[in-house]
Subunit: 195 residues, 2 copies
């Protein structure tokens, strides 16, 4: 019996990261989230800040839309490819090494050929997410509504660009949960049971 992996994709402010951490703790396995960025940075040789920023952007798409020079577009393209390769390698190595929870980074897609994987999507009503974002991350100069919309848009574009699939379409995940209605504890309980 090999390692068992839970991948969590989530809307911003849905508590998906918290659900990932709590589930991993209950199951006695590791949850890779911030640590993943460090590993991808080390693998790619890119700065962690850049990895964090870029891993949820689709700079290639953005580049093509801007009036950039061909050289800049090609550089951006090469960097994104490097990042995607490093990300895929790190995630696959983790899955080969140990049972764990992996949050974000298209891990569901990267590990699509693996058995013993449980792919999860966590979402919640827009207003509930806005409320949570303020609670968890505090206020900022940008309105929480705008922050949630922007981040969702980036994740959607990034996911679609790298996977050719629609983000948040139920059929791509084994289980999708509305954390706003069901509550975070209930989501954790269900995932532990399915594991």
């Amino acid at each position: 019996m090999g390692n068992r992996i839970i991948t969590i994709s989530r809307e911003f402010g849905s508590g998906g990261r918290t659900i990932g951490n709590m589930t991993a703790e209950k199951l006695g396995i590791k949850c890779y989230d911030a640590e993943l960025i460090q590993k991808i940075a080390a693998e790619s040789g890119l700065a962690a800040d850049y990895v964090e920023e870029k891993s949820e952007h689709a700079s290639r798409l953005e580049s093509f839309k801007s009036p950039v020079t061909a050289g800049m577009a090609a550089d951006s393209f090469a960097m994104d490819n490097l990042l995607w390769q490093a990300q895929s390698k790190v995630i696959k190595e983790l899955a080969d090494k140990e049972s764990c929870v992996i949050v974000g980074r298209c891990a569901d897609y990267i590990l699509r050929e693996y058995d013993n994987i449980l792919t999860v999507f966590i979402h919640a009503d827009f207003d509930k997410r806005v409320e949570r974002v303020v609670q968890v991350y505090g206020e900022s100069s940008v309105s929480p509504q705008k922050r949630v919309k922007e981040k969702d848009k980036r994740r959607k574009t990034y996911y679609r660009f790298n996977t050719d699939m629609e983000w948040g379409q139920a059929e791509h995940y084994h289980i999708c949960l509305d954390s706003g209605v069901l509550g975070i504890d209930k989501c954790v309980q269900l995932l532990c049971e399915l594991y």
Copy 2:
């Protein structure tokens, strides 16, 4: 504490109807599926066969695409409206009367203002559904692949037309489950727990 309702939307061949029936039985409540058609027929005065056929079609859309006369299109429109009104009334009356499971018929949308509702979407991999359709419904002159595709297309169109939302988009449901991977028994167990 009012009635608690589970609505189940499902891809054809995903076992959603079976999951609905099994969940209701375990919870000791009724599951409305075929009986719903009889009730809608009685309410609308339309034949049960017509209700069954039409409730998962979007004849209005189809009509507009065909070179029909204005009179025929208007008749079809009026019939569909009558059916939708009857369907909404029957489903709301059931929800007011008793705790139950309701399969299909856009019940999630019709009851969207209700509290104590759990909206569920059941899906599975295309090949698994094809296999199940042959197992459950037997062979027919039309290939099972075609039957699954056609039925999905109809349900999608019907849902979109009546609700202005995309069918199978995770955010519209409290929980979405891949019955092909998780198995029917596990899906039933999870729904009973959430109830």
